[in-house]
C-alpha cells in the first residue's frame, strides 16, 4: 500500500507547473553540461586553445555547480509526479547511476587531470571522452525515459 498518492501532487493538478519544472530542469542541465563540455573540448584541443583547461575550469566551475544544484532540485520535483513509474524504468535507473558516477568523476579524476600541469595528452583525452560520454548518456537516458 502506498502512503503517497501522486494524484494529490499539485504538479499533477494544474497545467503550468510540470512544464515549468521541465523548462527549469532543461535550461539548467544545459548550463552544467554545456560548461563541463567547454572544459572537455579544451582537453581534446578543439576549443579556446589560447586558455589552459585549468583557466576554463576556474571560469566555468561556479556555473557548473549552480546548474547541477538547480537541475537536480527540479529533477526531484519532476520525479514526485510519478515516483514508482520512474523507479521501475531501466532508463531512469541508468540515469541515476550514471549521474552519481559522473558527479564523482567530475569532482575527482576530471578535476585533478584538468588542474595538473603534468597530465599527459593521452590521459587528458581519455578523461574528456569519459566525461562527455557520461554526461551525454545522462541526457539521452532522460529523454528515453519519456519514450520507453
Amino acid at each position: 500500500m502506498l502512503a503517497y498518492d501522486p494524484a494529490t501532487n499539485p504538479l499533477n493538478n494544474n497545467e503550468w507547473s510540470f512544464p515549468l519544472a521541465e523548462c527549469v530542469h532543461i535550461a539548467t542541465f544545459a548550463m552544467s553540461v554545456g560548461t563541463i563540455a567547454i572544459v572537455d573540448f579544451r582537453l581534446l584541443g578543439i576549443e579556446l586553445r589560447k586558455q589552459t583547461a585549468a583557466q576554463l575550469l576556474r571560469a566555468t566551475s561556479l556555473w557548473t555547480l549552480a546548474g547541477l544544484i538547480i537541475t537536480i532540485s527540479a529533477g526531484m520535483v519532476i520525479m514526485t509526479t510519478d515516483p514508482v513509474a520512474y523507479y521501475l524504468n531501466w532508463s531512469f535507473r541508468y540515469k541515476m547511476i550514471a549521474l552519481v558516477v559522473a558527479i564523482v568523476f567530475n569532482y575527482t579524476i576530471h578535476r585533478k587531470v584538468v588542474m595538473s600541469d603534468t597530465s599527459s595528452r593521452a590521459s587528458r583525452t581519455l578523461v574528456a571522452l569519459i566525461s562527455l560520454t557520461l554526461w551525454i548518456s545522462i541526457v539521452f537516458s532522460g529523454l528515453f525515459y519519456a519514450f520507453t
Binding site: I26, F29, A30, M31, V33, G34, T35, I36, A37, I38, F41, I46, E47, L48, R49, K50, Q51, Q55, A59, T60, W63, I136, V139, F140, G142, L143, F144, A146, F147, T148
Partner: protein, 79 residues
C-alpha cells in the same frame, strides 16, 4: 497552400510518419537536439558572462567570441 496544409503534407510523408512511429529514432533525434542545446548553450553562456564582465575577465571579449565561434555558431567579429 496554407501553412496547415503544408505541415499536414510534411506530416503525411512516408519518412516523417516512420520517424514519428519509430521506437528509437524519435528519442535519439530528441536527445541529440537537447545535447546540442547544452553544448552551444554553454558556449553562448560563457560568451555572455564575459560580455557582462562576470567570467574570464583576463581574456579580451573578441578573443572569447572568436575562439568559441566554431561550436557556438556565433559569427566572428569583423571589427
Amino acid at each position: 497552400m496554407s501553412f496547415t496544409a503544408f505541415f499536414q503534407a510534411v506530416r503525411d510523408t512516408q519518412f516523417f510518419t516512420a520517424v514519428r512511429e519509430s521506437m528509437l529514432v524519435y528519442p535519439i533525434v530528441m536527445s541529440l537536439h537537447l545535447t546540442c542545446i547544452a553544448i552551444f548553450g554553454g558556449m553562448i553562456l560563457m560568451t555572455d558572462l564575459r560580455l557582462l564582465g562576470w567570467a574570464m575577465t583576463s581574456v579580451p571579449i573578441a578573443e572569447v567570441i572568436k575562439q568559441s565561434a566554431s561550436l557556438s555558431g556565433s559569427a566572428s567579429p569583423s571589427w
